[in-house]
Symmetry: D2
Subunit: 284 residues, 4 copies
């Protein structure tokens, strides 16, 4: 049985849910999941819907076409429809830290992630051996002040060549260029090692230690032009105390970074996130 | 503008959501919240829906009648429709522990709970002064092995007299009788001071201490004939360590009991819980 | 049997623990709790010690005197010794929010707090009736731009009159004056309704909502001249999501504020906190 | 500078701390960490102490000898002294689940664990390729009802041959034999995929799902003769809801298992755990 996922976003108005559910009924679908969100302040409507199609004759293109003609124009709707077996293709960007890379590749090898990982990009050679251990192509693209334009060009070509749908920065220690952000809008996931908006920028564990906080955090978010200001996907925290050194903060933080980044990858790859007004709607 | 909440439960089948959302459209309602759940294993369908009605002419009875005739029979559905301004009436049952009582009455006085509390029942006189401090009628009903039938009779009469919709056992230390449970099926909320199903019955903190657990919990659940076996509404936990004595467990547990019971009251009073197969569906 | 608590702070150096434990042995004490902390970066030493004295003849003054002469000068130590039965006297400062007040007074009435609360001070009359319900003197001291000096004077006189040891700001919505802060250095506890250092100042829930965070927090800290910059005593957090409105943030935050403030009161009143370099050492 | 860690356990009595800290003073040590615990009920004393030795001439054997003669007999003490650079040697036992194995080997490769892992043992061949990817010897020892004695013999020989200090069962799906447990008393760490003592034995996620819990957990503990009844080292939990299937429970549980097992390995390898009366003292 074919399963499809529909994501919808439009201005809130009467009758959207009725129209969409009638459409599902028409194509002989059985809704197994529906969730919606109304942003009352901004009058925006969001919906995520999963359904099973008993009629095997109907293809995805035909559904998309039908959906477009029947509903989309009436409601001035932006929308996406996926079949469940389309695994998104994900590129990993890394630098020198290996703990998130090990964690993601371990999960990937264990079959926990609904993605293909055809490509690892790095501005250093350090982690090549890990990529090789997991049999994933590793591309070294140096990235310095001097070669930004060239580096970006190489990145973009590789992403196209490998048909990449979204990018994960697994502690990649370089600013992403505006062109790349524009190409992958709301499709570049970063892990920041603090509880944003506290401690943006460099060395957040050092700042947290200095401030004497009792809890540290990690934040995964979509990358935008403003550093560490993009829409937050997921956050989590862990307790620290006066007995913990900066090294302890960093060590405890590694577990947070791993978990929070893995959850964001999972949510994005299962098409459970939508972005509006620099915030995310995250369907559970 | 009138707001109504609809709860629906029936066998899963095609077209339910379409039928219900078409109904809302017909009565000129605007859906501001819809959530549904399909229990795939058992093929059961649950839905909770909130909508605003722009047409002020339509009354609750008329909606209920219309809903019943239009939809209910087609789907063999059990359902409830409430207007948002109907506050459920809640009775508090207490014994000698005062911390949950103080917490609930503090929240009630601070306007945090969407309930009326017209009645406190106790099998001891100890907490009368607290009830009086908050100006709530306090009824002492002794309850011993010898007077069970009589005690139950008095309880039931009081509950009727005060028009009680649901009961909260705020560390009430007596077994509830089968008749009362039958009268208030899935409408009696208990707080148990352990992470059920670990440590049911008496003295759970002592058992947890003896076992050397690193985390203790509290559980709110609907009361059924089987002690501490009813559908779980909410649970939470807190960390303990070897430095904590049984007295520390009890003290830390008090905070858990307060919070977990308060959340259950909030969920129940806002009609966010449904029960099936000894489990709860808790809409967020 | 008499129980005493000793707090020590000095530069880190060899032999401190040996000296102190030898002292305890000399006065026939049995150590039931010892915890120490070395701030390696700053070379500072902190210790907290509880012991039981079998010899009933020895009084607190004599121990203090002996301790001073035997040890303090050798190590250039700052120190405090308390007997366990000295309950600190705490003043509550409130404005219009009642939830923290209800919570603290409920806990106090239930015997959970090791303090005396002889005094509630407010810059509004709104919460007088709650104070009366719990039989605690309520003093209305208006506090505006115009009468700051006078208001501060009244506050200080009351605190002296009632022999107040420390102050708790239970959502008191006025800046504390520098003179009062100087008089009660590291003895004024505030609850801030955000996960500091994120969202200091006014309306943190609104800022958190706007930023789209997935977790909100509350922070209790000692009050210093810099607003919301004082040493953090305790923090905690709770999850939020896109479905939560600002009102939900505020409601969920109330539970955090209650719990985090109550924990800070407990820690301070049991002499488990020490302050150095704008950070706290919190012994468990 | 040499660092040593001392663990002590004896009946509680006056003067222990003074005696030990005087000893440290005598060998010109500087205490950088001291923590102790008194089990008041059972009158047992536990201590963990770290110190730096400025005198490079003194060797570990000499300290141990001196300590034994000076202190141990007076207090009838059991004790251990380690130098910080002695990494314990750890064997991994696995079956078919790979997620804990990937996690531990990832952490090990990233330098997060203070252990040597010279050996992986399995009753299946499935995970050999992962071991090879990380260059760790993998030994297949079939283990069935029929060959228990032989299997145990092979295990014990391998453990001796590789000089193994402690064993980690990373979802090893076979009962450990009494002989092996006796040889490695309080040195075999298991991860159980439930919040013990709830749901011991097989299929805990299924049982948790059936019971309708709102929180699931994982528990790491030392293995004893009684299945899932050994001293608990660490536990953690995560929230679930009615929307989660058994498959979701299992997937969420994997993250718990990874984290809780990794923490237990860290605590054990840093000599922060002590066992008494089927409970652990876990120094932070």
């Amino acid at each position: 049985m074919q399963k499809i996922t529909i994501l919808i976003h439009c201005e809130d108005q009467k009758g959207i849910i009725a129209a969409v559910t009638n459409f599902i009924l028409k194509i002989e679908g059985n809704i197994i999941y529906i969730d919606q969100h109304v942003d009352v302040e901004q009058n925006e409507f969001f919906m995520r819907l999963e359904c099973e199609l008993t009629n095997k004759e109907i293809g995805l293109a035909s559904i998309q076409n039908d959906f477009h003609q029947t509903i989309v124009q009436d409601f001035n709707m932006s929308w996406e429809i996926y079949t469940k077996d389309q695994k998104p293709r994900m590129a990993l960007f890394v630098s020198k830290y290996d703990h998130c890379l090990f964690d993601i590749l371990g999960r990937y090898s264990a079959g926990e992630l609904n993605v293909e990982i055809p490509l690892i990009v790095s501005n250093h050679e350090d982690l090549r051996s890990i990529a090789e251990r997991f049999n994933i192509p590793f591309h070294y693209i140096p990235f310095t002040k001097e070669n930004k334009a060239e580096g970006e060009q190489q990145q973009i070509e590789l992403l196209k060549e490998y048909g990449i749908d979204f990018i994960v920065l697994a502690r990649y220690m370089q600013i992403i260029t505006p062109n790349l952000i524009a190409l992958y809008e709301n499709k570049i996931i970063n892990i920041h090692h603090s509880f944003l908006p506290a401690f943006p920028g460099a060395k957040p564990y050092h700042s947290a230690f200095k401030r004497g906080v009792k809890i540290i955090g990690a934040t995964s978010h979509y990358v935008t032009q403003e550093l560490d200001e993009g829409p937050i996907i997921e956050q989590d925290i862990t307790r620290v105390s006066h007995i913990n050194s900066i090294e302890d903060f960093i060590m405890k933080g590694r577990d947070l970074e791993r978990i929070v980044l893995a959850r964001a990858i999972k949510l994005h790859s299962e098409r459970k996130t939508m972005v509006f007004s620099n915030k995310t709607v995250v369907f559970s």
